[in-house]
Amino acid sequence: MRTFEPSATSDPALFRSIDHTTTKFYVTVGVLAAIVLFAVFMYVRQVVLGLGVTGMMQPVTWGFYIVNFVFFIGISHAGTLISAILRITQAEWRRPITRMAEVITAIVLAIGGLHPILDLGRPERVMNVFLFGRLQSPLLWDVTSISAYFAASTVYLYLPLIPDIALLRDRSRRLRWFYDFLSWGWQGTPRQWKVLSRAINIMMIVVVPVAVSVHTIISYIFAMTLQSGWHSTIFGPYFVVGAIFSGIAALFVTMIAFRSAFRLEAYLKLIHFQQLAKLLLAMSMLWTYFTFCEYLTGFYGGEPEELKSILYKVTGQYAPLFWLMVACNFFIPLVLLGFRRFRTIPGILIASIGVLVGMWLERLIIVVPTLENPRMPFPSGIYVPSLTEISLFAGALALFALSFLGFAKLFPIVSVWEIQEGRALAKVEMEERIQSYLPDEQAGHVQA
């Protein structure tokens, strides 16, 4: 393959987040750290006093922690799946996006994977999962698949990072040893490029089925029980679609935030947002289709338990949240992303925040109403989250932002070598590729 020399000097803007630390940065880090510390304090308090400090009760024994668990793991799909699929399809507009996507996945998987432990009544016994684990339980499948996905996506983040780490090694004085160690001896020789591209190609293919399996298995936590509203065959694909949907929205929010914070307007241009917005719109339609299938089937069949659960969500106690979810996930993206005049960066930001809210609501509407409607005539109540759960949610979001900022301080959040590769080689490669799609020279002259 044609190689090129990545240079540390031709794109100084991409190193700005590493080189310059503004007061705004310190203030942001300070505020985020304070939120995280408060969340840690609330968690320790929960461990000491027991899960009674949450809003959960009989019969709603799963609340915010499980909702956020599904939500955060769902966001992880953006990253790696989008980056891998865009790489596989050789979409040229992926270049400034892939790094951020991969980082989101790694961070959000770690945070999401932490949530079931936050939810445990006896967290000190978590080793029991490894000592006595039963692989028949969907929770064990979850532990396996999430940790496998975390391993795979960390490697998938690290491999394309290596040439950029080498650039940092060659230009930095402080932390030079850190970049030197992480660069694993990268010098950009043709043989090394061959090894790296082959490895990235393998990982981008491996990561896709692993990612799909992760959210399918999370859906199985619910689908494998006999509860109405959960025991549905559509859950596997439904959750994966929802995950990719919320993941793209999270990616957008991150892109917009960092684009303005580090002034990367030259690299993250409107066209990138518009291309990705088409994907978000497509996922919105897909999500709406799945939701429609799920609710119509249950409603039409009219099986009493199923119907009770559906009506509770659509016309009952949860109706305001349900219709807010539909508005955020369907109507708002349809308008803001479907019409060109609204498909601007502010429009995309509003749509993405709406999707994140809507998808979080979807997780809530899946978990809690079923529990609030037990099969037996059990005296039930409305689940109201407590300060503990809200602060842990805030802490998780703050931890995500904090980790992302930490990454941005150490590594470029836009892949420098991929941008430069695009500049150097993409035009020629694209011309060759398009030429291969077009009919051959002799095709029109067969009957000469």
Partner: protein
Amino acid sequence: MSKPDVHGPWYRRGIDLLRLMSIVLMWLFLGGVITWMVNVVRVSHSLGDALTVSVGVSVVAVAVYTLVAAVLTYVFFGLQRGRGGPEK
């Protein structure tokens, strides 16, 4: 903005050691995953509790982890071997 490279004689060795430790850590992690899976299969066998599922899931899990470990190992040694000259 490259600096003159004045490092002590142990610098290069230290970096090489760190790198080796990172790949060894990864193999240890793989070993840990395999141990865990084997233990869980043994537990399910002794309890007589869905052995086929346990074996099935463990095989897939260990396969994925081994593949990822293999890719990382390939990259590690491939980069070492593909070096143009000694590192600074």
